[in-house]
């Protein structure tokens, strides 16, 4: 079980009931798994972040990932692995 910190930038927070950040416990191994999980919980995440035609990250969406104290990096591949205490910023 991983504990992540999830951050939602303004328009993404529309999906989370205006929640801007929250701790998130998960068994997700990849970014794709996490998006599936959030979609099941909040709805709308797949539509916002996954291009239905290609199955890849939407070209008008961004996800950044880092651990505390590290420089966030843009997630390009949805197979991107997650690890404990990771910070995921959706925007």
């Amino acid at each position: 079980m991983l504990t992540l910190e999830l951050r939602y930038i303004a328009h993404v927070a529309m999906l989370t009931g205006n929640m801007l950040k929250e701790p998130w416990q998960t068994n997700a191994a990849t970014m794709q798994d996490l998006i599936d999980e959030l979609d099941a919980f909040y709805g709308g995440f797949r539509e916002m972040f996954i291009d239905q035609a290609t199955g890849r990250l939407c070209l008008n969406a961004m996800i950044y990932y880092n651990k505390l104290g590290e420089v966030p990096i843009p997630v390009i591949n949805l197979d991107h692995p997650l690890s404990d205490k990771g910070i995921v910023t959706f925007w």
């Binding site: 969406a61 950044y64 925007w91």
Partner: protein, 647 residues
């Protein structure tokens, strides 16, 4: 109703010394060479301003330029203002709103204002009526009061205005020209020059229509353009962010990325809760009263009018909260009180102060105070610690800067000049280039930004290459780039902290944005592939104006403008040594995320930029071959007369 043909460009010349007013048509070949707007202003400025002209002399002409797309859905109300800067460089800026389209509807594309008035005046234009009117009763008024007074005096609530505030009247460094209460432009020196001319305001009313040359083709081109901007079809990750939230969201993101200048950029990351407190979410939820768009903008209105809802500043009204204010009035001075940020920002608009001048100079002074170079004996008793322990004192200091009173007189010079007076090493944390303060975008983690800020002819100005990243490499196959005139490895260019390809990337961005600002169009709307593939802009320009030019010709107009701006500065003595980032970014590492200094990579990027441009590596002067290739032999002739060392 009269309708203007959309291929002839006219200029109204006003000599404030003599009161003479005249109108003429600009040479047709200039439209092919420079399109309009910023490009045409640059040509006028170069041709009509002799080398060595004193910025505060009657001979320094102030140009306001529209362009052939102004008054159409693509112009977005943008217009350019230009003159020679008191810092010696070309001064150019642009602003949005409605003034540009209104001026065109009055039958005027450019204003050239020379001379100096004996007493304060304003220029009144009502179609073919042009009058220089007394403005003694307006002199000294804040911009919001000026706006209201002129509308009442002219009995026209919708008249379009540009005006200056007390800061420009007092020739405060970087003072801006304002309009529509919150649209500012010309921080590189145009406001100071307008104040020096005792020109308080411009008022324009126009009623003519503007003809679209080929309506059906224009509409088709517009549909293609719009698909790249619409929320559902745009392939740009910033489209939903800007549409829903606006630029203040960057403070939240930048602090996570080690990208937020904090305490005068001594640190590059701020407390996340502080960043949240001044981000767009609380602003949108609690302060915004109305949104306002510029002329013909297809996006949700990005200008936000606000009112402070409660607390000691309850009822304070202002407008616009962008990417700049959450940096310069928050993290840079370590202030997380959003009310205070909005009051300082609103006061800057009322006084006509440049927010970047005020923010970076305040932060410079705070670091001086932190290090004991300034004490309460220097600051009129104000505790100038980071964190703003005396907010009322900071608010009063902003007023003192506008009126050059007390300690404000030093800060009114800008941080670079003030540091020369205080000395003792404080030049190292005066965050300016070519005498002009930085903006909100940072450098050590985005090498193209570092290069762009250093070489910008007007001092730091992100609009010269905005947005500062290429589109996603997945959007355009590499082999397509050559067809678009780009010799660029997009994958390498996309890597922010890889110095390779940054010179080439900046060259392309500078050329393409020069084109957008010459149409004019809004660089904020350079989304999706609109920053790499200029054909949609080309189609819009051709179909609207009827000016038939090839795509390579269209691209060359941008390169010509880039070289013209450089040539102006070369003529004034600027060389390679002037193209460098501030000392702090160049030679100091950042604690925390560990971004290294720029020094090891900077010269290589600069070499690549000059080489790709066809400029001398040692001097940065465009070579004779390049100037000839761009039909700029008039520049070459001028250089030779002045003894400029052209290779």
């Amino acid at each position: 109703m009269a309708v203007r043909d959309n291929e002839v460009q006219t200029i109204l010349r006003v000599d404030l010394s003599t009161g003479k007013v005249s109108k003429e048509t600009l040479p047709e070949q200039w439209t092919r060479q420079h399109l309009g707007g910023r490009g045409m202003n640059a040509r006028l400025l170069f041709e009509e301003t002799r080398s060595g002209t004193d910025a505060f002399s009657p001979e320094n002409t102030l140009y306001f330029g529209t362009g052939l797309m102004d008054g159409l859905p693509v112009g977005h109300g943008r217009m350019s203002v230009a003159c020679k800067s008191p810092r010696g460089t070309v001064a150019e800026g642009s602003f949005g709103g409605f003034f540009g389209p209104e001026l065109r509807k009055a039958g005027i594309d450019y204003l050239a204002i020379s001379g100096k008035a004996q007493q304060p005046v304003y220029l009144y234009i009502n179609d073919d009526t042009v009058e220089i009117r007394d403005a003694s009763h307006l002199w000294g008024l804040a911009t919001d009061k000026t706006d209201a007074a002129l509308r009442q005096e002219l009995g026209d609530a919708d008249i379009q205005l540009r005006y200056i505030g007390p800061a420009a009247e007092n020739r405060v460094h970087s003072a801006v020209i304002m309009g529509n209460l919150n649209n500012s432009g010309g921080r590189a020196g145009c406001g100071e020059v307008m104040g020096d001319k005792k020109l308080k305001a411009l008022a324009v009313r126009g009623t003519k229509g503007i003809r679209i040359n080929n309506y059906d083709a224009f509409l088709e081109a517009y549909r293609d353009y719009y698909r790249k901007l619409a929320l559902k079809t745009s392939r740009d990750p910033w489209t939903p962010v800007w549409s829903a939230s606006g630029a203040p969201v960057l403070a939240r993101l930048f602090t996570d990325m080690g990208n937020l200048m904090t305490r005068n950029a001594q640190q590059m990351s701020w407390d996340n809760d502080k960043a949240m407190a001044i981000s767009c979410e609380p602003f949108l939820d609690h302060y915004v009263t109305k949104a306002k768009a510029c002329f013909g903008c297809p996006w949700p209105a990005c200008q936000k009018l606000y009112r402070i809802p409660k607390g000691k500043y309850q009822g304070f009204k202002g407008g616009n909260y962008w990417a700049g204010q959450p940096v310069v009035f928050a993290s840079l001075i370590d202030n997380s009180d959003l009310d205070l940020v909005l009051v300082i920002s609103g006061l800057c608009n009322q006084y006509g102060l440049d927010i970047f001048h005020v923010g970076f100079t305040l932060a410079w002074a705070m670091e001086c105070y932190q290090k004991g170079l300034l004490t309460k004996a220097d600051t009129d008793g104000l505790d100038l610690s980071f964190g703003c322990p005396n907010p009322e004192g900071i608010i009063d200091l902003v007023r003192k800067i506008a009126y050059k009173e007390g300690f404000g007189e030093l800060l009114a010079l800008g941080c670079a000049q003030a540091a020369k007076i205080i000395g003792q090493g404080s030049e190292k944390w005066a965050l300016a280039v070519k005498g002009q303060e930085l903006e909100a975008i940072t450098e050590r983690n985005n090498y193209m930004v570092a290069l762009g800020i250093a070489v910008s002819e007007v001092g730091p100005d992100h609009t010269r290459w905005y947005p500062p990243y290429p589109c996603n490499p997945n959007l355009i196959p590499q082999k397509e780039l050559e067809k678009l005139g780009l010799d660029l490895d997009l994958e390498l260019a996309f890597q922010g902290r890889n110095p390779k390809e940054k010179g080439k990337l900046l060259r392309w961005f500078t050329i393409s944005r020069a084109i957008v600002e010459s149409l004019p169009g809004c660089v904020f709307l350079v989304r999706d592939t609109l920053g790499l593939d200029m054909r949609p802009w080309w189609k819009l320009f051709r179909t609207a104006s009827g000016v038939d030019m090839s795509y390579p010709e269209f691209l060359t107009s941008g390169e010509r403008l880039m070289n013209l701006d450089r040539a102006f500065n070369i003529r004034e003595g600027f060389r390679r040594a002037d193209d460098k980032p501030p000392y702090r970014m160049m030679y100091e590492d950042v604690p925390g995320f560990g971004y290294p200094r720029l020094e090891p990579v900077f010269d290589g990027m600069l070499d690549e930029y000059y080489t790709t441009n066809g400029w001398s590596l040692s001097t940065s002067i465009p070579t004779a071959k390049k100037l000839h290739e761009l039909d700029m032999d008039y520049v070459l002739d001028d250089f030779q007369k002045l003894g400029v060392e052209v290779e």
